[in-house]
Symmetry: C2
């Protein structure tokens, strides 16, 4: 119970969890301590390195606010978010592949009617985005809640430039129609670096990595009886598809933006300038039926 | 470069460090990703558990300020601080054993002359604290900088009650005299719970653990040519010596507070009420000589 050395301390800590009444807490904390202590024994940090780690984590917490989540970004850039995604989602079958949530999701985004333009003050090539939501059995899902958010043509999200934009932009919630279809207007997003002015940027520099993510539209789709789907649709023309800073690219999620000339758009509106179109057919997994 | 699954993502992340020019960064980050990913594969967290972890870490950062370091407390209570201590310090030989720094150290504490009373506004049994500082070869170290800090008789540090105390108390820096000796007055500290009003308290409750630390005096001693010594002197009468919330107790660091009647104290001052005495002979490790 005293005089622990680097070999005996791990069991001593784990033994302290013996009074926990929650088996999952006990399981998670036991595994955490084993792996964390193995890591420390492996790298044998100096005090200065330990102090740096404490300071790094503290600064990572401090920089978080309602519009920025640096710990999610840390999880993303260390591949943890995609690993959590992988252990929670099947990689085969008809269901649309998932990918990271990312740090720029905002709860309770503004709702729009289908066909609305969510570009707000964002500049860029107009894009007509459409798609459908169906269940894994092939039936269309009406009324699915579709959250969409994306960067502008300079790679910034609305929450990174709220003062300039005067509010949210490139972000909104739609509901699929009676046939499971949806469409809206916005601008074509571009690739962008994850924020590098915080601890994660410091880490990427030290690791000799670039901070870029390939251009994508974020989607979060929710429908009764189905598992929440969090994913992106990537631009096939992007140069960073094979070096995404957060390891999120899956071939199945890559699509073409098709350039279109001025004229009548698919929704019947008249466009007097070129635009582009992109579409995706989302397939949602059914939730396992609850035992009676 | 895409379509990572739970088996392939670890190597993909590690491969990104190949351009780092710092071999230690590469080594630490590679080990971190291996162990962190092993942990995730082991526990297979749900999204809700991952979100809880992100939120827990964020709150741990947010609650830190100049007087509170919750990430150090997290490191302490998971046994990581004592493990870092163990990999950095020999456990045999004449040198005084080290233990955790703890979250309540304050840089640049006020300096006092030997014999001063640092109790400030703290209540408790007066204590005459004395000791010596010598090198591992037995020679006394004059002018060693001795930082001391401790809780009051209710278990609170000054920085937890600055408004009530009106400033620092139970904290100060002394310098050993020409014979390596030191002495000062303060009050006898008591056992105390680590702060439980933050994320670490939440964790301890979930783990079914008590938050108590046995009573101790913190010491940080620094002298030219010697390794910084960070340690505690524990009270042999304490009930928590065998269940310290941060795993810091070593037998060699346990001493008696000896009760004394009113009368002439060891420094020649006249005491008109009972007090106690405690002493310790610190031995510092020499720094390895730098290669010519």
């Amino acid at each position: 119970m005293r005089n622990f050395n680097e070999k005996t301390i791990t069991d001593a800590v784990i033994q302290r969890f013996s009074s926990s009444t929650d088996p999952r807490i006990k399981e998670v904390c036991t595994s955490l301590v084993k792996h964390l202590h193995d890591f420390v024994r492996d790298i044998r940090p100096s005090y200065e390195e330990w102090e740096y780690a404490i300071d790094f984590l503290t600064r990572t917490g401090k920089i978080c606010d309602g519009n920025r989540q640096e710990f999610i970004l840390l999880s993303d850039t260390l591949g943890v978010s995609m690993l959590v995604d992988a252990v929670n989602n099947p990689t085969e079958g008809p269901v649309t592949q998932s990918t990271v949530l990312g740090p720029f999701f905002v709860e309770d985004a503004e709702e729009f009617a289908l066909g609305a333009n969510i570009a707000g003050g964002m500049k860029g090539l107009p894009a007509y985005v459409s798609g459908s939501v169906s269940s894994e059995d092939g039936s269309p899902i009406a009324g699915a809640a579709i959250d969409v958010w994306h960067s502008d043509d300079a790679g910034f999200y609305d929450v990174q430039q709220l003062e300039t934009l005067g509010g949210n932009a490139g972000r909104g919630r739609f509901y699929s129609d009676e046939n499971g279809k949806f469409h809206f207007w916005t601008i074509k997003p571009t690739c962008y670096p994850v924020p590098t002015d915080g601890p994660v940027g410091e880490m990427l520099t030290a690791q000799g990595r670039h901070p870029w993510r390939p251009a994508h539209l974020h989607y979060m789709i929710q429908a009764p009886g189905h598992r929440k789907l969090v994913t992106h649709i990537f631009d096939r023309a992007d140069q960073y598809l094979d070096s995404d800073a957060v390891f999120g690219v899956k071939d199945e999620l890559v699509r073409d933006y098709v350039d279109q000339s001025a004229g009548v758009a698919p929704d019947g509106t008249k466009r007097d300038a070129p635009y582009c179109t992109i579409t995706y057919e989302f397939v949602m997994a059914k939730k396992a039926a609850r035992a009676a």
